[in-house]
Amino acid sequence: MSIQGYLRADGRKGIRNVVAVAYLVECAHHVARTIVTRSDDPDVHLIGFPGCYPNAYALKVMQAIGTHPNIGGVLLISLGCESFNREALRAAIAASGRPVETLVIQESGGTAETIRKGVEAVARLKAVADQTARVPMDVFELVIGTICGGSDGTSGITANPAVGRAFDRLGAAGAACVFEETGELVGCEKIMADRAITPELGAELEASVRKAEAYYTVMGYGSFAPGNAEGGLTTQEEKSMGAYSKSGSAPIVGILKPGDPPPSGGLYLLDVVPDGEVRFGFPNISDNAEIVELIACGAHLTLFTTGRGSVVGSAVSPVIKVCANPETYRKLPGDMDVDAGRIMEGRGTLDEVGDEIFDLVLAVADGQRTVSEALGHQEFILTYKAFDPIGPACLPLRRAS
């Protein structure tokens, strides 16, 4: 199957052609959302950051998403007095060759006038984005993320290992595959480190899980919930192994932090837990915060495994939902792309479901809408965090090249 991608001026290729409307503080959220609603176009999406205080992580993530290969143009909506560095964000988007416009509400006549100008601006941005060249795109040019949410006793048996099978095939074809949530890898750090392509990277993988364990301990949050035991899970490491199985069996070639693009194909761990002292609360307050970080690393689409039944999608990059539990699938068939729970009932094997996920990745990359896209799910959430840059041992392939 061939994928028709969107060729950006910076040479990257996207699988969607989204015009993003970005609010740069909560005070601009209503104006930005109304512009998106009035534009009434499935490829005009709302993104943004609610805080008034500056945050280097938030700027990095917004710059990464504003220049994401799925983005064809960006409209920035600023109130005017917030701290967000709108000039730096605009400059990064413009430097990538994408059309970008800024509206400052305090200088544009207020709410109604900014909405009117914004709808016109979106039409202009859309007209430029529509001129983007369509070009053939290969599997090795894809970046694929995976997360799990609403996990239960079936997740580690069906959906997660099936995604692992798909990851193995995608990685073998040269795609960059990214898994994450170091807090749910506690207990897996030794076997994960054994899969690193260098001993130094293995030590960094172990350190990232130790950091997560320490961070969550301060938060007073235990990843192992009582419901896990009722579902048949006995220990934290057992739960972690289920989540870990999404990563498949390929060697791990590097560690990313939010906003870092993978420098090559292969399997990467995204370290989502902040560095330094504990600040700003939980690392990721909900599943979409993790999806946004995967997108900031360039993920063209995300494979989301769920047992209890999450219904979310995402702005910017499509989400493919893989349902682990056959009962959940029967309750929410309209919210699921893949019925992996059929493995529990002997109606399919891990390899068959893995192949189905692989084929669906290619179809979605070629433009087929996922169920959450068709339902209009465009969730986006970005909150405060602090990270140190990744260490020199985290990307052996970049160092070697």
Binding site: V186, F224, P226, G231, T234, T235, Q236, E237, M241
Partner: protein
């Protein structure tokens, strides 16, 4: 009833459907009688396990036995523990 073997090295199996005590179950092509009623998603011993044995699932250690189990017996909080951090029950976490 044939439970799921997730990895060839494993010494526990996962139930794809619930079993009743006395029900016939198939483990490694041998048929035996289930000693316990066990719910779907839970684990049973693939072979006899002794105190201190590492429990292997997904081919990886997920804890240790705190009591012996015969083949087919339920393996859970009552006879195994984490080698890492203690698991909490709803009562122990203070949640209702």
């Amino acid at each position: 009833m044939k439970p799921i073997l997730l990895h060839p090295d494993d010494n526990v199996l996962v139930l794809a459907e619930p079993i009743l005590a006395g029900q016939a179950i198939e483990i490694d092509d041998a048929e035996l009688v289930a000693p316990d009623a066990v719910a779907v998603g839970h684990k049973i011993a693939r072979r006899a396990l002794a105190i201190g044995d590492k429990v292997l699932k997904y081919g990886a250690p997920i804890g240790s036995m705190t009591a012996a189990a015969v083949a087919g017996e339920h393996v859970h909080m009552h006879n195994m523990k984490s080698d890492y951090i203690a698991s909490h029950t709803r009562l122990a976490t203070g949640e209702s």
